[in-house]
């Protein structure tokens, strides 16, 4: 108030000084008018419209008395007087408007600069934190400091988590924040002093935020929201990348562990097996039986270890296939020669047509499937009953089947027999085997991208099938 009166006084003094100077140097009326005009222009630009208008009136009066004839007398009726007053007033108004606008623009620019600086500081501090969650926590605390709000809150939707700067932020309820995620635009409630905004990136909702107290402009809030969204997304991407790396490393570790587990189990088994088979060579009858048991159980333990490790490898997706054209007859012959002892006394029919193309498969693993089928058939069919092994080209695929004359498999059990540890109802209490053989076979076949299935007529037997891709290369002879 005092400043304002002072400015009025000063404005009037300036006009008076100009008038006095003009009178002193005896300038003509035009020069006097121009000098007054300049003074008013200056006052208007410097202080504003009101001061300039007051100065205009005083200048008009002084001009009239001192320079318009009759000099020394106020002649209001003179039209020259009105022209001068009009000129002074128009100048005052125009100049003040121009300068006010310039000042306002400058002030706005300054305000924006400060906001940008704050935003920059905010983003910088958020960027430095590692995870999305830390970024949000940092944002909430920095937002209060940086924007001079009394409180801030953030709802992070992927984790359904609320982060608040303090209890003051409870003005905005969890419910409100949650609802804001679905809203399209920000809302500034001047009465409550609350700005609410959804946080999105590319249309994907990340959450919402609220600033309480004296929230910055809507435009500013929008800018904050965009930057926060970007920063969170960046932190999330970083997190995902490091998770993926951690997961990959744990896979590598798992694979190495499986290898060393297999090695560590098989090493003592090697000593046991070598020792017991050595004793078996010269053992008398009574000991023979006991040594044979040790030998067989060592084999069983070995198989079990191999199956556990292989199952784990299949489940970890770590089966490493080396596909190449494989003659189906070789595949079957290999499996049969491995099982030669168990196959003794079993009539075996083999149907592999001449000219069957080679299969595109991993020789070791595909051979293992055939072997598993044959072992399964041996286990679940009466001793001495015949087995039948067939291979044929069907719809571009090579289909290998192993048939037995066992009791067959009930329809409701068929899909489940390839499950890990599943045993048929009838065989639930058999102790032989690990219950993993068919699950492993399934894992191997599926790793080839092929199909495994069983067909059965209960009471007549079962036929296990799996398919392999036919090799584009040469034909089998």
């Amino acid at each position: 108030m005092i400043a304002k009166s002072l400015r009025f006084g000063a404005a009037l003094l300036i006009v008076a000084a100009v008038l006095a100077l003009d009178a002193e140097v005896q300038v003509n009326a035009t020069t006097a008018a121009l000098s007054l005009l300049l003074a008013i222009l200056g006052i208007s630009a410097q202080w504003g419209l009101a001061e300039a208008m007051a100065a205009s009136v005083v200048a008009m009066l002084g001009f009239n008395i001192l320079f318009l004839p009759p000099v020394g007398k106020l002649t209001i009726q003179d039209p020259k007087n009105w022209v001068a007053l009009a000129a002074f007033l128009v100048t005052a108004v125009t100049a003040s408007q121009l300068s006010t606008r310039a000042r306002r623009l400058a002030a706005e620019a300054e305000a924006r600069r400060i906001e940008m600086e704050r935003l920059y500081a905010l983003v910088q501090s958020m960027m430095l934190t590692g995870s999305a969650r830390k970024t949000i926590r940092e944002f909430v605390h920095r937002a209060v400091q940086v924007f001079g709000c009394s409180a801030a809150a953030f709802y992070y939707r992927p984790a359904d988590e609320f982060v608040r700067s303090g209890p003051e932020s409870l003005v905005v309820s969890d419910h409100e924040l949650r609802a804001e995620v679905e809203v399209d635009d920000i809302s500034v409630d001047a009465v409550r002093g609350v700005a609410l905004a959804p946080v999105r990136l590319g249309g994907r909702p990340l959450g919402s935020m609220a600033l309480v107290g004296s929230p910055p402009s809507g435009q500013m809030v929008r800018a904050i929201v965009n930057l926060v969204a970007l920063t969170i997304e960046k932190a999330r991407a970083l997190e995902d990348a490091s998770h993926a790396e951690a997961a990959r490393q744990s896979e590598v570790l798992k694979s190495a562990l499986l290898d060393s587990l297999a090695h560590d189990i098989k090493t003592p088994l090697t000593s046991i097996k070598a020792a017991v088979t050595s004793l078996l060579g010269s053992a008398p009858g009574a000991d023979r039986e006991l040594l044979t048991i040790i030998n067989e159980e060592a084999d069983r333990l070995n198989r079990l270890a191999a199956e556990v490790v292989e199952m784990a490898r299949i489940e970890a997706g770590k089966l490493h296939l080396e596909k190449q054209p494989v003659a189906v007859a070789d595949l079957i012959a290999g499996a049969l020669s491995d099982l030669a002892a168990a196959l003794k006394g079993r009539p075996l029919a083999l149907h592999v047509p001449a000219g069957l193309p080679a299969a595109e498969a991993d020789r070791d693993f595909a051979g293992q499937v055939v072997k598993q089928f044959v072992e399964n058939a041996l286990k679940y069919s009466p001793e001495g009953s015949p087995l039948e092994i067939s291979a044929e080209l069907k719809g571009g695929k090579i289909v290998i089947g192993v048939a037995d004359r066992g009791p067959g498999i009930e329809e409701n059990e068929r899909p489940r027999i390839f499950d890990k540890f599943y045993r048929g109802r009838r065989h639930r209490f058999d102790t032989k085997g690990t219950g993993m053989g068919l699950a492993i076979a399934k894992g191997i076949v599926e790793a080839h991208g092929e199909r495994i299935w069983v067909e059965s007529e209960p009471g007549q037997g079962a036929v296990f099938y799996f398919s392999l891709a036919a090799s584009a290369g040469g034909r089998e002879t």
């Binding site: 098989k266 090493t267 090697t270 070598a274 030998n295």
Partner: protein, 228 residues
């Protein structure tokens, strides 16, 4: 009378113990080494007739040890390993091993493999020598010259070549060749032949990719092509 001296290389003391007890029981003389490095050191001193080499050992490991042995010795090497994929077998044979046995094994199987690896000479009646402009083999002195240079074949490579030369001009099946060179317990290891035939070709052929002497007979086996 010792049936031969065997160097057992394994980092597991129990395995060395059981091997020693068993092999000594079968009239072999046994020396032990705990690592590949120890084995290489013991080799010139002990001059074993055969080496049983564990694949998975700390330090230089079985494959590297095998290659190092082969750099200076023809002593037969049998690799023992818990891994049983074809890839592992081929890697072992490529490293110069004569045979590959998967752990755990029955002792009879190992003894058969040891006997096969120690078998040096084929039944009588084979050729004494083979001569052609590019290849010169003396089966009595076991000397091989290819393109004017002395080449050294391992015992198994040498037996392979001898059997093929003895049946020059006729295809020899995989099984026949395996049983002749490795022993009667063999026949289902075509990967052995792939590796050894490749090595023989590398040593005696001008262009191993287009062999002139040892040619493949598709789906059957191999054949030696004589000068006639």
């Amino acid at each position: 009378v010792s049936a031969g001296k065997i160097l057992v290389v394994d980092d597991d003391p129990q395995i060395r113990r059981v091997m020693k007890a068993t092999l000594v029981g079968h009239s072999y003389e046994v020396v032990e080494a705990r690592t590949g490095e120890d084995a290489l050191e013991a080799l010139p001193r002990e001059q074993p007739n055969l080496i049983l080499l564990d694949m998975n050992m700390p330090g230089m490991g079985g494959l590297e040890t095998c290659r190092a042995i082969r750099a200076g010795s023809d002593t037969p090497v049998i690799i023992l390993s818990v891994r049983n994929t074809e890839k592992d077998k081929v890697a072992a044979l490529d490293a110069g091993a004569d045979d590959y046995v998967t752990k755990p094994f029955g002792i009879e199987e190992l003894l058969a493999r040891i006997r096969a690896a120690l078998r040096r000479s084929l039944p009588e009646g084979g050729p004494r020598a083979f001569q052609s402009p590019g290849l010169d083999v003396d089966f009595e002195t076991r000397r091989v010259r290819a393109h004017g240079e002395d080449v050294r074949l391992t015992p198994k490579e040498f037996e392979l070549l001898r059997y093929l030369v003895a049946h020059a001009g006729k295809p020899v099946t995989h099984r026949e060749l395996l049983q002749a060179v490795w022993g009667p317990d063999y026949g289902d290891e075509p990967e052995y032949l792939r590796v050894f035939i490749n090595q023989v070709r590398k040593k005696i052929e001008v262009n191993p990719a287009k062999p002139k002497y040892v040619v493949t007979v598709p789906w059957v086996g191999y054949q030696f092509v004589g000068p006639e």
